[in-house]
């Protein structure tokens, strides 16, 4: 018989407020194998841990049950405490009487018997606990970053500076991301390219950073410390070594297609770099647009290229590499506002989204930096900005606030006034949200010094009349209906998760919220970690975010990666699966479902009557097994057990709860 000690935490009033501690202690003393029961106000405190350690010695305990918060919270704390008292840490069992009991019940009469039942189950399981050892795992000292925007660039630089190798995988032909599309940045109005391009160059030249542009992650296998990743490097049809980036190919190319970088406002060539500061300065050929690939005619680029770098025979390449840690920094998209029929987006060239309008300010943008109407090329004298298009909209859009629109709208209104001094801006808003250093001051400058009229209300419809757009809205503060004859309308469309975010999440094995933004492990205390060890997130793929927040989060994720890669060995999972090979029928369903490739078939020899029988059975590699338990579930002969969660232990828990009813 085991000698079990039960320790119950009050957690202030979190548990003691709804669970009668005295009754629980009393009941615990009667559980089979329990020789000692005690309580403390905060068991996780040092004093609390000392109570457990002393009791182990005094009462010669060989099992410990704690009735506390979720094991997610403090299992590690208490395992460490019992280990310090000389017990194997896996002989500890946690009964979650807070999240599973006191927090979900209101009255003490209901919660107390439930707490007792949970503790009885934990004691029954603890009696069957065995001492386990966690294997040591090697760490591949190389990091992968998915996404080469400002988040990915910053994280890569920080990791590289700490002395580790890091690869950036970027889907587009150039790194730079959304920030490269911006003209100026709030609240200082410094030119986006001027602060971004030095970082792009730095990351490209850093000896520890390796850029894989025009590439996508195809497969992620393995686990923290040893992720095996397949990366597809798409064929550029240009030899990156020979190419000098002279630009003759895209000057001469005769075919055009809408430019993704310019939000489709203008066209690019079929062989192209997305923007003039692209890194690497090596063009790609767009197979879907190129005349040679479509019709088999025209090789002008190849004929004109001085170093002969064009290679139509190039193939996609698969790169297989092992990484110790991964940062996902895949950024965001802008919502398409054409679902709002009343705004007429997509039906008139002078109704733009915020990001489209931004491109009009850029010297290399569709209008060469002249802010003009796309309909007739005239500078706009009246521009109406409308906020919250698809944000804060639970009916047709997203329930959340996109966070950046109030600020970039103020910025664009200021920039407009500077480019077109006699222009007048109107901003229809619901609330102006400018939390951030220098943000409120910036927005007030727009209203006070740049003559931007802020109208608190929304727009009901926009329709063309003669050569302008009538914006029919309301100012709720004065209660007046307002019609503005505008030259241009800018819609602050919601920032949304990338369309393929769910796919990326599945690929790397992290989960996301209902809007497909990736979930952090804890909203406050683990903002860059995910629930998958070794995978981190940074930037707007987690939630809409401005540049300062993105850079801060990227640095934070980099520190976590550096901390991980600095270790020579990681503690592996002790609760791994185990096959009783004598009972195994060798169906190998387990091998098929194992997400970590930890199960392999082996041939064993068995004595059978007079002869020897050879047969195939399953074997678990404990270094690879992460203890997910999938194999134990599919095992037809019920012969796979998860150590620490064996079938016997689980049934003992169930019995302990049911039999006492």
């Amino acid at each position: 018989m085991s000698r079990t000690g039960v320790f119950i935490c009050h957690c202030g009033t979190n548990i003691a407020g709804t669970v009668d501690i005295d009754k629980t202690i009393e009941a615990s003393r009667g559980f089979p194998g329990v020789v000692h029961a005690d309580e403390y106000r905060y068991l996780c405190s040092e004093t609390g841990q000392d109570i457990i350690k002393q009791a182990i010695e005094e009462h010669d305990l060989d099992r410990v049950v704690v009735g506390t918060c979720s094991p997610r919270m403090h299992e590690a704390t208490f395992r460490k405490a019992v280990a310090e008292a000389g017990l194997n840490p896996y002989l500890l069992e946690v009964a979650n009487i807070r999240e599973h009991c006191s927090w979900v019940h209101k009255n003490i009469e209901e919660a107390t018997p439930k707490a007792i039942a949970l503790l009885r189950a934990a004691a029954a399981k603890a009696a069957l606990n065995e001492a386990l050892e966690a294997p040591k795992l090697e760490v591949e000292k190389r990091a992968l970053i998915i996404g080469g925007g400002i988040a990915g660039i910053q994280a890569a630089l920080d990791i590289a500076e700490a002395g580790f190798e890091v690869d950036i995988v970027e889907r587009e032909p150039s790194i730079g991301g959304r920030m490269a599309q911006l003209e100026k940045t709030f609240p200082t109005l410094d030119c986006s390219a001027c602060i971004l391009t030095p970082k792009m160059v730095e990351v490209a030249q850093h000896p520890n950073v390796h850029l894989l542009t025009y590439s996508e992650v195809e497969e992620v296998k393995g686990f923290v410390g040893q992720f095996d990743v397949k990366i597809k490097q798409k064929a550029r049809y240009v030899d990156a070594v020979k190419c000098t980036g002279c630009g003759i190919c895209w000057e001469k190319c005769p075919s055009k297609t809408p430019s993704e970088f310019e939000m489709g406002l203008t066209k690019r060539k079929s062989i192209y770099v997305p923007f003039p500061q692209a890194v690497p300065m090596v063009p790609v050929i767009d197979r879907n647009a190129c005349l040679y690939f479509r019709k088999g005619r025209c090789q002008i680029c190849a004929e004109e290229c001085p170093p002969g770098a064009i290679d139509f025979e190039q193939q996609d390449e698969i790169i297989e590499r092992r990484y110790g840690a991964i940062i996902v920094a895949t950024g965001f998209d802008q919502m398409d506002p054409s679902i709002y029929g009343e705004y007429g987006y997509g039906q008139h060239p002078d109704i733009l989204t915020g990001l489209e309008f931004e491109r009009l300010f850029n010297a290399s943008g569709p209008t060469g930096g002249k802010v003009v109407r796309l309909s007739d090329g005239k500078p706009p004298k009246k521009v109406v900005f409308i906020q919250c298009i698809g944000s804060r909209d639970k009916a047709r859009g997203m329930n959340y606030c996109s966070k950046i629109c109030c600020m970039y709208t103020a910025k664009q209104a200021i920039l407009l006034k500077e480019k077109v001094p006699d222009a007048k801006s109107y901003v229809f808003y619901i609330d102006v949200r400018t939390a951030g250093k220098g943000y409120e001051e910036f927005q007030r400058r727009a209203a006070e010094e740049y003559d931007v009229a802020y109208l608190r209300g929304q727009v009901g419809k926009i329709f063309p009349e003669d050569d302008h757009l009538v914006v029919h809205g309301v100012d709720s503060l004065s209660g007046k209906i307002i019609d503005i004859k505008a030259d241009m309308v800018v819609l602050a469309a919601a920032s949304i998760a990338r369309a393929d975010a769910p796919e990326v999440g599945r690929l790397v094995g992290i989960n996301s919220d209902s809007y497909h933004f990736f979930n952090e492990a804890h909203p406050k205390l683990k903002p860059v970690e995910t629930h998958t060890a070794g995978i981190f997130i940074a930037g707007a793929c987690q939630a809409p975010k401005d540049i300062p927040d993105t850079v801060a989060q990227a640095g934070s994720a980099a520190v976590k990666v550096v901390g991980l890669l600095s270790k020579d060995m990681l503690q592996g999972e002790a609760c791994t699966a185990e096959v009783n090979q004598a009972e195994c029928s060798g169906c190998l369903y387990c091998e098929a479902v194992c997400p970590y490739s930890a199960i392999n078939p082996v041939e064993i020899e068995e004595r059978y009557h007079d002869g020897v029988l050879k047969r195939t059975v399953a074997e678990v590699n404990p270094a690879l097994c992460q203890g997910c338990g999938s194999c134990a579930v599919v095992c037809r002969s019920g012969t796979i057990n998860l150590k620490g969660f064996s079938n016997e232990q689980i049934l003992a828990e169930v019995d302990a709860i049911c039999l006492q009813r």
Partner: protein, 132 residues
Amino acid sequence: MTTTSDKSRLIDDMKMQSGQDPAECYQCAKCSAACPVTAAMDLLPHQVIRYLQMGLEEDLLKSKTPWICASCFTCAARCPRDLDLARIMEGIRLSLLRRREGNKFGPADLTPEQLEKLPQQALVSGFRKYNK
């Protein structure tokens, strides 16, 4: 001076009638921007909701707006909070009507010619609007 009141029978009735909760409105006023008949209203649609939020029952009783509302449902279609303002207006109308004393008119007040010519729907709606 206007004071807000915490309890209002009108608002409770209206909530029950319409199944809509004015507390969900964040006053973006898109309903007012979308409404085609604001020119004839003394309170704009979003102000009606604001009055409901503030419990200004007496002021709402005096307003013409709920009776001007044409139930075109444009406000409901545009509302980013998924509130059905047209239902709220109908809720207010019903709540007000139920509080009035007596019937304004009955079938007996109508001439046989009127009864023959008027569409049934107009009759039903007329009785609903003008009778207790």
